[in-house]
């Protein structure tokens, strides 16, 4: 797919806004596990709405294969929204589990985790977005971080596991 035509803005406003949301959730919940959950939930709700926008702007044809889907997320999805690309790696034998590796991640510019937040998955919103978006194209998944630069790892690695592929429900009109 060619580079989609979407309106771009300086990342600063987005990065700072996301950071302020995480900070507010930490203040409200005082518990990093709960904040991880909230971020994932927020992402999920974004994902189920964002998928239409993505499909209409990206010109990608609807993927039916999980492998192809992972590539589209990595190369087109990340690029279109965050301006970076991810690498798909570490497939398991039956092709239902892979990693998305993100060397560059605008969400964490200017971010350092304080000692008290070591269990925080700061970028958990992204897991939720992917899970939500995939659910809308009939793929139930589990998505979680396995490596995180903010935790001292050398890169961001997200594990993507296909739990169930629900066949399209009819009546479904593909040309609408």
């Amino acid at each position: 797919a060619s580079a989609p035509n979407v309106e771009k803005v300086n990342a600063e406003l987005f990065t700072l806004t996301y950071g302020a949301i995480v900070r507010q959730l930490l203040t409200d919940f005082e518990d990093v596990d709960e904040v991880n959950k909230q971020l994932d939930t927020m992402g999920y709700h974004i994902g189920i709405r964002l998928i239409d926008d993505f499909l209409s702007k990206s010109n990608v044809t609807r993927c039916t294969e999980f492998k192809e889907t992972a590539e589209v997320i990595a190369k087109v999805g990340f690029k279109m929204f965050l301006g970076v690309t991810a690498t798909v790696a570490n497939w398991d034998a039956d092709g239902t589990e892979c990693s998305l590796i993100l060397d560059d991640n605008p969400l964490v510019d200017y971010v350092e985790l304080p000692e008290t937040c070591q269990g925080l998955y700061y970028c958990n919103v992204l897991c939720g977005v992917i899970r939500g978006a995939l659910e809308m194209v009939s793929m139930r998944t589990e998505v979680k971080w396995v490596r995180d630069v903010l935790h001292g790892d050398d890169t961001f690695e997200m594990r993507l596991k296909l739990l169930k592929q629900v066949p399209e429900e009819y009546p479904y009109k593909d040309d609408e």
């Binding site: 600063e12 406003l13 987005f14 700072l16 409200d28 927020m42 709700h45 965050l82």
Partner: protein, 182 residues
């Protein structure tokens, strides 16, 4: 992680997705029965962002000498950075109240409201239109906690302590009312 050099860009819709979802999270899931508390939380998020953005946008310039100068900066440079246009109208009562009017507020331009109350009957249409106007204003109001906080944070950073509220008359036009604290 170190800030990158150069201008990094993301899709404009990213800001929209997260700010809309913040409203969903606080107003519908976390505090569905306490709209004021939800509003304060979202405003606090905007405030943090405003503080930091004003700091960055004014790094290279001399301190503002009075409140009006700072408010004009918000109406022009700050607005252009974030909303890609200037404020359309600035009014003041010269006693510490400023009204910033934006006839096409960027973050309200994508809000659409369906008409669940309209059932096809002409009489109902009229009442439903006025009900919808009320609903539209209320819904839009929830999306304005964040920009109100943003403006208050920016002005606070520029040395203008204030309260900021918003009014929606006709989507997507809206006004922000700044009351400077004595």
């Amino acid at each position: 992680m170190a800030a990158p050099t150069g201008e990094r860009e993301v899709a404009e819709s990213c800001v929209e997705w997260v700010s809309m979802e913040t409203v969903e999270a606080y107003c519908r899931r976390l505090h569905p029965t306490k709209p004021e508390l939800a509003g304060r939380r979202i405003e606090a998020i905007g405030y943090q962002v405003g503080l930091q953005l004003a700091e960055r946008y004014t790094k290279e310039r001399p301190r503002f000498t009075d409140h009006l100068e700072a408010i004009k900066f918000i109406c022009k440079d700050f607005w252009v950075e974030i909303f890609k246009k200037q404020v359309d109208n600035l009014k003041t009562n010269h006693r510490g109240v400023f009204v910033l009017q934006d006839n096409q507020f960027r973050w309200l331009t994508h809000i659409s409201l369906d008409s669940p109350l309209y059932n096809g009957d002409r009489v109902t249409l009229e009442t439903s239109l006025s009900n919808n106007a009320v609903m539209a204003a209320r819904a839009a109001g929830q999306y304005l906690y964040f920009p109100c906080g943003l403006i208050r944070g920016a002005l606070t950073n520029l040395g203008v302590p204030c309260d900021v509220s918003a009014e929606v008359a006709n989507l997507p036009a809206c006004s922000f009312i700044i009351r400077i604290k004595a």
